[in-house]
Symmetry: C2
Subunit: 288 residues, 2 copies
């Protein structure tokens, strides 16, 4: 059996949050964090001492999630007394109203929320003129009232796809690699008139999503041609012309996992990679 | 020329708001209202003494809007100095972030935001199980975690359509009629898994939308059959079994106007109706 079975019973926990009032995912002394709220809610509902929760995407301060995935290991005897089906509602009931647990279920064998993940997908949303501003979406849509040419932004996307070194879009960590596989990068105007950048990768390094969007926005405002973001990426160094966009517009939409037979093998591969390059998957899920 | 032309120049103002922190549309001494915020923003941007704004739907405390329409008459000489195209952005810039003006334009001849309107459309949104709760939508979606049978609710809708006396769903005002034409009433589960009731009428009386939704919810929870809401309507009196749903889930989505040649005639008809029955159109736009 896998590591999780030896330690107890692993639960997969899917959650959503409005990140506005949080200092990000990870526990930080004296600050309000999502991890801390979830761990305390689990302890309350399960009547256990605090449990450690592991997450797919360690989102930054102010970043939101609609498809965050976490896991937690609970003692096997606790689970026997639990109605797992009802746990999501009970957790949501004790959590503050800017966090909700949408699902709790027994994890598949080998499942690790962080190491089994094969992709993370984010959306960045911008209201670029007064006609599309919606106060009901002010928490997860950036209001920036300068018209964007979303077609020019879309034209810049394909050249960034694939396995590349994204150091030009990442905040440096000593010794860390910024090599990632960008699986998807699109820009379009949605039915509400918002400019939406959809981006998916095996993993992201720190500030990567917000820097890529910053480069696309520079194109959308006509300051640079559509060929420019790929030139910056190829340059391999951060440049002041690329703005790291505010967290407000960024939401972790979904995390992808392989089919159950592959979960443990994927987790083993990701853990091994972590040994070779400490940042490759640690910061890798960072939703930035 | 129409009344508006004699008084100055009429502007049509489209707006959106998160009603959570407001005591409704209409100015009330000592309370925060949308009308007050808009009138003060107009005075600031136009550098005029306070102006009176007329609105299509006088929404209650806590009710939201994505398609609210208002008009304001400004002195003709003020307008000559104005760039009307840029007014929406300037107003949104001075308004608090829970109100936005999406468009300002010269009103068509005969236009009256309130009296020219031929329909108001509202949506009521409910998250009925933990899997569809989204903290980013907590301001305009009611969280009520009891599963709803949306098909049973939909089955109850057609029998309420048409010209009827909705007194059973309206808070009484002495001498007021509750006869309205319900043009549309649907219930469905949307792509986010929310139960959404769409309702459109020529006008609404006080609490009408929220009471109709309350009757549908009673059906959705299995407490009454799909034939029940129409029986209550036909009864003509309010009954305690119909809950007036909370304002949180209710949003004014759109207001309809006839083609420009009909705007003045419609306004004249609505004003004449108001003389015959003071509540018919006064409370008529009330978004409840």
């Amino acid at each position: 059996m896998t590591e999780s079975r030896r330690e107890g019973t692993r639960l997969r926990v899917d959650l959503r949050f409005d990140g506005t009032a949080f200092a990000g995912w990870a526990v930080q002394p004296g600050l309000r964090t999502i991890q801390d709220e979830i761990e305390r809610a689990l302890a309350t509902v399960l009547r256990l001492p605090p449990l450690r929760v592991t997450v797919a995407g360690r989102t930054d301060a102010g970043v939101h999630a609609r498809g965050q995935v976490a896991h937690v290991d609970v003692p096997a005897d606790t689970l026997q007394a639990l109605d797992v089906e009802r746990l999501a509602g009970r957790l949501t009931g004790v959590l503050p109203d800017d966090i909700a647990v949408t699902s709790v279920r027994l994890a598949e064998p080998g499942f690790d929320a962080r190491f089994s993940a094969i992709w993370r997908r984010y959306a960045y949303r911008i209201a670029d003129h007064p006609g599309v501003v919606d106060p009901l979406r002010r928490h997860d849509v950036l209001r920036r009232l300068r018209p964007l040419d979303h077609e020019a932004m879309a034209a810049a996307c394909p050249a960034l796809l694939g396995l590349r070194d994204f150091a030009a879009f990442c905040k440096n960590r000593p010794g860390a690699t910024a090599i990632r596989t960008l699986q998807r990068l699109d820009c379009a105007r949605n039915c509400d008139g918002l400019v939406v950048v959809d981006v998916q990768a095996d993993a992201f390094c720190h500030s990567m999503v917000r820097s890529i969007v910053g480069a696309l926005v520079a194109v959308g405002e006509g300051r640079y041609p559509s060929t420019w973001p790929a030139l910056i990426q190829a340059g391999g160094r951060r440049v002041p012309e690329v703005t790291v966009m505010p967290a407000t517009g960024l939401t972790l939409e979904a995390v992808g996992y392989p089919e159950p037979p592959e979960l443990a093998a994927q987790a083993d591969r990701a853990r091994a990679l972590r040994v070779l390059s400490p940042d490759a998957t640690t910061g890798g899920g960072a939703g930035r």
